[in-house]
Amino acid sequence: MSRVSEIMETMEYGPSVEDSSAVREWLAKNGPFGHFIGGKFTEPGATFATRDPSTGEDLAQLSQGSADDVADAVKAARKAQRGWAKLSGSERARYLYAIARHVQKRERFLSVLETLDNGKPIRESRDADIPLVARHFYHHAGWAELLETKLPGYTPLGVCGQIIPWNFPLLMLAWKIAPGLAAGNTVVLKPAEYTSLTALAFAEICQEVGLPAGVVNIVTGDGDTGAALVSADVDKIAFTGSTEVGRKIAETLAGTGRKLTLELGGKSPFIVMDDADLDAAVDGVADSIWFNQGQVCCAGSRILVAESVADRFERLLQTRMNRLRVGPPLDKSTDIGAIVDPVQKDRIMSICRAATDDGAELIGGHPASGCFIAPGYLRNIQPANPGMQQEIFGPIATLSTFRTADEAIELANNTRYGLAGSVWSESATVATDLAARIKAGVIWINSANMFDAAAPFGGYRESGFGREGGRVGMLEYLAEPTVKAVKEPAVTKPAAAPDGEAATTGVIDRTAKLYIGGAQKRPDGGASYKVPGGLAPLGNRKDIRNAVEAAAKATKWAAMGGHARAQVLYFIAENLSARATEFATRTSKAEVEAAIARAFHYAAWADKFDGANVQAKTGTLVNVIPEPYGVMGIACPNTQPLASFMSLVMPAIAMGNSVVAIAAQDDPLPVTDLYQVFDTSDLPGGVVNIITGVKDELAQTLAAHDEVAAMWYVGDQADLTRVEQAAGGNLKPVWSPTNRDWTKSDAQGEIFLRHAMQAKTIWLPYGALPAGSGGAAY
């Protein structure tokens, strides 16, 4: 029987291996590699090997970047930055366009190199990674061109340090470098030590297109090199990687004033409703957790399926899973390639063991020799199981069931992460509702793992902060227009003991209290301190705890919608205006006018801070929706108590947040009196909570509270450092607006709103009829 006849019996696919000779020649010619600094490759220093994880074969030697190397790179970037920023947007756009074009022209080379170094199937690097890299540079060439038109007044940050992971090496490089350069920054990028090769090939592309020396610098090395970059003299750190490392970086950068964005881990829910197209959902699983060997931070790794369809779903899932091909990454028929490194493989297997020890059942997921693990999932698994809590970062999902939509959401949100979520339902009503209720930065309706340069990507909760892609992504690489700073008066130490000095006489004594959950509360510690106008409650950590609890319950405020919130804010302005004279005697006319202006201004904004429908992919509605954080902590400056409080609290609540605010320490009574205004303005209880006392101490407790999702702090640098360190616990973003004259017009505006929301990107593919038989397009 001939070979062909035999194959006609078995109908096997046979090998179909992509040619890697050009890449191997390049490696042989160029290795060992130095760093790319100031437009040139350095002589290799101390080196380490980078391997093909599918075979264990050494591909090349890479240099371990030292602190000196990092300093050299930062110096080169600093030197180049002014000239780069001086170029017109259009000139920078031409470079970015050229990079995009060259990536396309080197598409095959880059795909093969990526696959060799990372172990991902060639189909994925060819069809997903590299095209998205080119798309990212095209899109940001456009941003460079339009920057002055679309974001006037914004300026580059300077030098950006960027640290990227090994799961999508070149793509993550593009996500970092493209917006950085478009904005006029120069960059020092540290690729992951497992997968630095495409970054070095990219450096050659930078040379090919004639990018000015020092605009892009690449320093290779391990976590020590990364740590050196974090400590270096840069103006921003952008990090994608694990939550543990992200937390360390946040702590290191606390108080430095350097901008930080973090894109961290995830354990994203994948909800299959009973009215879903189950086959489509199974395809979605294959495109999520069985994509890139499951080494995807936003993978739908927690499958939640409606009990009524669970059996059928699981049957279909197993059939599909069994047809996936685990094999050599360069084979064009491979679905699951190699895990990036034996260390990662061990980590995956150990979490699976912990999960099965705890009672879960592992279907599939068998390890093979080398860095290979077959696709699988854990069933009979409960939320308390480590396999359902930890990010496995391998081709292993969890599968559990729910009874109702409410339970699905409860399970979906029962995680410290909040990167992404997938929702499968043929009902637009149901799907969009679930999309709104999942706490995550990216939601895919009836789809999974869709990405585009125009669609912001980034997480809620401990999945990080900041966004990559689109307008909000650009803002992360730009400095906001500066305002005139005013020094904040130092605080006086509060005294809880009576001092025998006479207060006002001849009027009935007034007792200021804390304002918590819409009610006047005595301070937990039973102490007060002397302030202008009388005694203020000396709040402590338990008062903060109570206030946060009250704020967390005020969820209906966000659900009221912009129009209803605007009405309340207008009402606040109205009632404040009625008592203007009284408040003015306690502060100043300017402060009261500013306070009224803030309520009016943010009432106007409440129903106008719109999201956007972005042009990401044809046949798909991609909506970017500004969502409130939930509970925000605000520490007001020790000055202009009424104006500063209203300038900070009004934008936060206009966006639907509830707030725990620490009033100006030395003069809080004008703020505590506001409770009467709030109570008479139909502001629901718990939306605004006011605590008085020692700002530094209260702010730290607030910043450390896990329920508080974002923190604003105005004040002293040393205190800010402590607040930022405390905020690292649950990785909440901290914004520290400049202390300014809070009665002036630059104490209000859109920038305040931007820091009071997080963008959620919702993808909704549409299409009633298959292509070729009609169908509309937005």
Binding site: S16, A276, A280, S773
Partner: protein
Amino acid sequence: MRRNPGTDLNTDGFADIRINTPAVERRAANLPTRRSLKKDHQAAWLLNAVRCIDLTTLAGDDTEDRVARLCAKARQPIAPELLEAVGVSGLTTGAVCVYPTMVAAAKRALGNSGVPVASVATGFPAGLMPLDLRLAEIRYAVDQGADEIDIVISRGLALRGEWSALYDEIRQMKEACGSARMKAILATGELKSLENVSKASHIAMQAGSDWIKTSTGKEGVNATLPVSLVMCRAIRDYQTQTGHKVAFKPAGGLRTAKDALNWQVLMKEELGREWLDPDLFRIGASSLLGDLERQISHHVTGRYASAHRLAIA
């Protein structure tokens, strides 16, 4: 010989069908990129496509001589020297497919080759003839010696959701087929929505169709991968429900060797190896064979072939 006895009408079998069109299109677009065939494997898969072809002529100007030429090609679809080079013998197409009036000529031309003759019937391609005439046409074709009958369903009944009426019609057609096996053409390009396609697939299978087939080749849109994916999944679900295996036949629109590979990958990935046998998979095509033969020629000789050097149908 495999047959689908059908079942009683069971609209519950597809009441819960949900089809997300963009997801189907993503899967269909992505399927061919997930599998690649090279060298001997590619040659084998191309030859397998040849043995699955229903080599078709359905034109107003068909004559008995024209049909005879088609049948000659069906008996020897690939030049003998090429087949010899790859060591494959006895290769024929899956069937020939003609109008009822050409069945006798086809039978004569095919002789004892074992290549079955399929005949379209039931007022092909529109099917808008009185039912008794459509049934009579089936009986005529069977009487002429047709081994397989390709019927067209009443699209109007499907579009109006009159599933029971559609079931009854197809049931009667199946009875009229007697010992001949029946393919039900859904004319998916006219059913438009993928949920319609899926429901019509279920009705056709419940009524006893041995194949479900996408198109007549005369609709504006004929076989596409998304539509085929939906039909394959209906076949899978019907098998789960009843245990009966139903075959699939895409028709119209498959013109290139690459198309033939793509559809076979679809069959293997969605239904499994068995659905690559001519008993469970046919391709309705005419010009496709020429491209397959050219690719085989290239595989054997290493030179790109010219159509004029290969025998036409």
